[in-house]
Symmetry: C2
Subunit: 207 residues, 2 copies
């Protein structure tokens, strides 16, 4: 069975960079936007649209209170759940091919049979705002206050998506093997520690 690492992360915590560098260090595949792309191709939907719904809960779009079982909401929000189902199928196909790092999309739940190394990356708000502002393109021009609002909004969507699937609070320790606070840290310098943890984790799986 392939070694699978999943990264859940707060927006702006550097989780994506950590995942990418970790995959490079381990010499394994890395899936992030690739998932969106594949879902869009298979479903005929626009990438942007797929991305907009692939990490948010149904209730984020349909604020009326539904029963949270998929069966109950299927007729109302068919396209949404179709996209999630396709996304899960593609994630499973990718995991079957090789060792890989997956960013977001609840891949830790989708691939739980692999006993993935489940990493959660987070940071304090000041660090997240600073990180986001530093990588901001010229086109956007947020104040720190606006950026904070943006971060909270995105994480609210992730939290809703997560809670819908697991029933647990986003960032709840029992859902993860390793939780890394990146506040003030250089992500590149963190990689040796995460590689060492991954070695230990996958060695234990062999037994």
């Amino acid at each position: 069975m392939h070694r699978i690492i999943t990264i859940s992360r707060e927006f702006g915590s550097g989780g994506r960079e950590l995942g990418k560098r970790l995959a490079e260090a381990l010499g394994i595949a890395y899936f992030d936007k690739e998932i969106i792309k594949a879902v869009a191709e298979h479903s005929g939907l626009a990438e942007q649209y797929v991305e907009s719904i692939s990490e948010k809960s149904v209730s984020f779009y349909y604020p009326i209170s539904y029963n949270t079982t998929f069966a109950g909401i299927q007729p109302l929000v068919g396209e949404h759940t179709d996209v999630i189902a396709k996304q899960n199928e593609i994630i499973r196909e990718m995991a079957e091919k090789s060792d890989a790092v997956f960013i977001g999309r609840a891949a830790d739940i989708v691939l739980e049979d692999y006993k993935p190394l489940r990493i959660f990356v987070y940071a304090d708000m000041d660090s997240k705002v600073a990180r986001c502002l530093a990588r901001e393109s010229d086109a956007e021009d947020y104040t720190p206050k606006e950026m904070e609002k943006q971060i909270k909004k995105i994480d609210k969507g992730r939290a809703n998506f997560r809670e819908m699937i697991t029933g647990n609070k986003f960032g709840s320790k029992d859902d993860y093997d390793l939780m890394i606070n990146t506040s003030g840290l250089d992500i590149a310098k963190l990689i040796p520690a995460v590689v060492a943890y991954a070695d230990c984790y996958f060695d234990a799986q062999k037994k």
Copy 2:
């Protein structure tokens, strides 16, 4: 300023072993029972008594609902708060002497001016029960079910102590820099990863 590492942990998760091995690997001081010993010496109280109260909340002993400010409860539970005050003083003295790893006793809060590396160690219940049963002395003879009850009771005390001080839930990610799930892992093999993280953390502090 000295490099301080604090370990908070769920009972049976191997946090103490991790702290001890980490201190050895880094060649720095390690304080655990030593804190109890010093408090007992300074206060004239029995070590066992000091230990019994040093990580539990006031409300754990006095189940009536008090105002949670120390000032408010002082007259009623003088000895308890005296012991905590003495413990905090001793923790501060120890941190002033050298780099060190501290186990429990909310040292991360007491020493927050040091910007300690705050580690939380946890595990799933099955792993904790297995770890506790494996290290059990012949004198005690718990069934797994009894051991689980014991673990929950001890962690309830720690959680109460923690919540009294921080207002946060025990094991809440925002209180920590690194959270390690030790389920199924060999603590000794985890040390290189934690050492690498510590290097990264303290390097960032220098800037």
